[in-house]
Symmetry: C2
Subunit: 356 residues, 2 copies
DNA sequence: ATTGGCACTCTAGCAACCGGAGTGCCAAAG
DNA sequence: CTTTGGCACTCCGGTTGCTAGAGTGCCAAT
């Protein structure tokens, strides 16, 4: 799909003109005509010459005109080529970097951290920011607590990985005394701390089937742990990523048609397809960009998605990024997304690595 | 502000016409003319007569016409009078009630409960649903747990009231051993369970100042409890209510101007003013309605807000409702909001009352 | 009190028109 | 062979003028 084939037939000059055209279109939002380009390109060429070159660029499929007597604007391939080969990213100001660090530095709760990152992205870009929940291969068990709430209900507190805490209320099949519960907790904490949740579940099941005699206790425990393990997924399935500043997208003319917005927002709510798309970004390191239809996803037709993955302990666990109109200032957005991913990773790591 | 003065000068007939006019305008969205009204009212009056009456209604400030040769539509006072005196609410279907009960019945986590309620409201009405976090006079302490995460960090788990659980990470001034922490927790749990958080804090401070000698421990504990008490507020201040289905509002023509939507959504984000408005609904029992500018709040200009408070243990603790265009089907929305408030209260109560 | 009649007003929609912007092509110039 | 000026052509967006339709307000008649 993506034409990264560099278009070697294009002269330096043509490439430069394409660059200027895209930049100007991004800033102005209006199709760019030959006269404007001739003035702006600094090449002292007459509009007529520019027209010839623009015709070439159009033949290559890099630009089009919306109608006969309008200027040209980049196609998806045009954006792609621009981003891959022509773009000069604007480095971020020291002040911005420091502010980002400050904002992320004071937060303990990992979920707050994600939300803040997303909000920073949407605030800075005036577009929609998004951050997926971290997904780990292995979820490391750190400790568990049971608090009896009533006859029927037990509150489970599960601490995993970094300082991720999950609460859940379960309804055991039979009553447990407070003493029993602490006993179970102590057992689990002492035996399984530091191990991965899936393997704990397995090992519990195994243990259960081997010692059939004193089944009573063990069985119940195992069942509950299984429940817990499930919960991690459940929570993530319910809310696999967070999105902030969606409403910023209403302000862009190119997206503001009712129909378009409706489709877009309902896509955000559906989530499944979005998740699938974001998952594809997880493997790539560095910034990955989907332009318009490149995502293969109808709802994002006039949008671009700029993403980067963030890592904990050198393992990519999540993706963050920005959704906005295809006509966005990539040279600013890209470094911003890049930085945010790195800083979010760093912030999460810092908590994660603190010795237990 | 609100003209509840019943307009006794209005004939039965005029009132009936007003009713029909409002109903028709709500359904059709178009200004209603004399001919249409004459056909629809079932009074076998000629359009000319209707016109005379409409002129009266206009003199009373109940209806206006957007321009000379359009029909009439209700003013804010017109809606007010309609709602207060003319409206015949449509009772809800048994099936709906049962579905609502089912949806709310299976949820343990209070926060999920609130979100589900809000979502049901927005889904049913195709408008925006909203639910404030419950606010209690007294927050009842039920139990506390400390889990040491690292040298610097201690995870606090606080259970209050019903099954409301709050996690927080604190950074004590000095190290605590695991044993110390459990000791503190045990102490607090045994002494203060069932008491109200504010008074606990007070009593701790008092205790602290009376026994200056063995300050060390007590002081630290007191400080941390103070922290906790603060947190409850902090959380609510950050997210004082939840809003679902905001984007539904884009589908209404009367709100769909860019400017209007921008104002509305930024009002949702600001929250403070909204909170203030919602607080005013807390005291009222039953359904309370703000029509358009009645809220005194610029951003809700063309909107109405239908609210009801929900209670736990007979104490109104929160407000829920629906925001939509002034032109909404009140006869359906009102009973829906009413029901949801009652069921949400019931669901919360059920958890709350279960014996500890 | 109610009604039909009538003049009046305002809007929405449609067609016609025009200036501006930009293109494509061609022939001349470098 | 590239670059350039010239020119005819196209298309869009805004403006104008017009008409049909809907609805009103008022008046005189019932």
């Amino acid at each position: 799909m993506s034409d990264t084939s560099k278009f070697p037939e294009l002269s330096e000059r043509a490439q430069h003109l394409l660059k200027v055209l895209v930049e100007r279109y991004i800033n102005g939002g209006q199709p760019v005509g030959s006269r404007a380009l001739s003035r702006e390109a600094g090449l002292s060429l007459s509009p007529a010459t520019i027209r010839n070159i623009m015709a070439d660029l159009e033949d290559c499929g890099l630009i089009t005109s919306p109608h006969t007597s309008a200027g040209r604007l980049p196609t998806v391939s045009g954006y792609r080529f621009f981003i891959d080969s022509l773009l000069t990213v604007k480095p971020l100001g020291q002040e911005t970097v420091r502010q980002f660090q400050r904002n992320l530095g004071n937060i303990d709760d990992p979920e707050d951290l994600l939300e803040t990152a997303s909000r920073m992205l949407s605030d800075m870009t005036h577009m929609a920011g998004l951050v997926t929940m971290p997904r780990r291969e292995a979820i490391i068990f750190r400790m568990i607590e049971f608090l009896p709430l009533s006859e029927q209900r037990v509150l489970v507190i599960l601490v995993t990985n970094a300082q991720e805490v999950q609460n859940r209320i379960i309804h055991p099949a039979r009553r447990f005394s407070a003493a029993e519960l602490t006993a179970v907790a102590n057992y689990l904490n002492s035996v399984y701390a530091g191990k991965d949740l899936a393997s704990i579940r397995e090992s519990l099941l195994q243990e259960l089937s081997s010692t059939r005699d004193q089944m009573d206790r063990e069985l119940i425990h195992a069942a509950e742990i299984a429940d817990l393990a499930l919960q991690c997924d459940r929570k993530r399935r319910k809310k696999p990523f967070m999105l902030t500043g969606e409403t910023n997208l209403m302000d862009f003319d190119e997206l503001a048609s009712k129909e378009r917005l409706r489709i877009l927002f309902s896509a955000f709510r559906q989530k499944e397809d979005m998740v699938h798309l974001l998952d594809r970004c997880l493997e790539t390191s560095g910034v990955k960009i989907f332009i318009g239809e490149e995502s293969g996803y109808q709802a994002l037709d006039q949008c671009s998605l700029v993403t980067a993955s963030y890592s904990i302990e050198d393992q990519a666990v999540g993706v963050l990024g920005v959704i906005g109109p295809t006509r966005m200032e990539y040279e600013h957005v890209i470094p911003l997304v890049d930085l945010t991913a790195k800083l979010l990773g760093a912030a999460l790591n810092q908590k994660s690595l603190s010795p237990s």
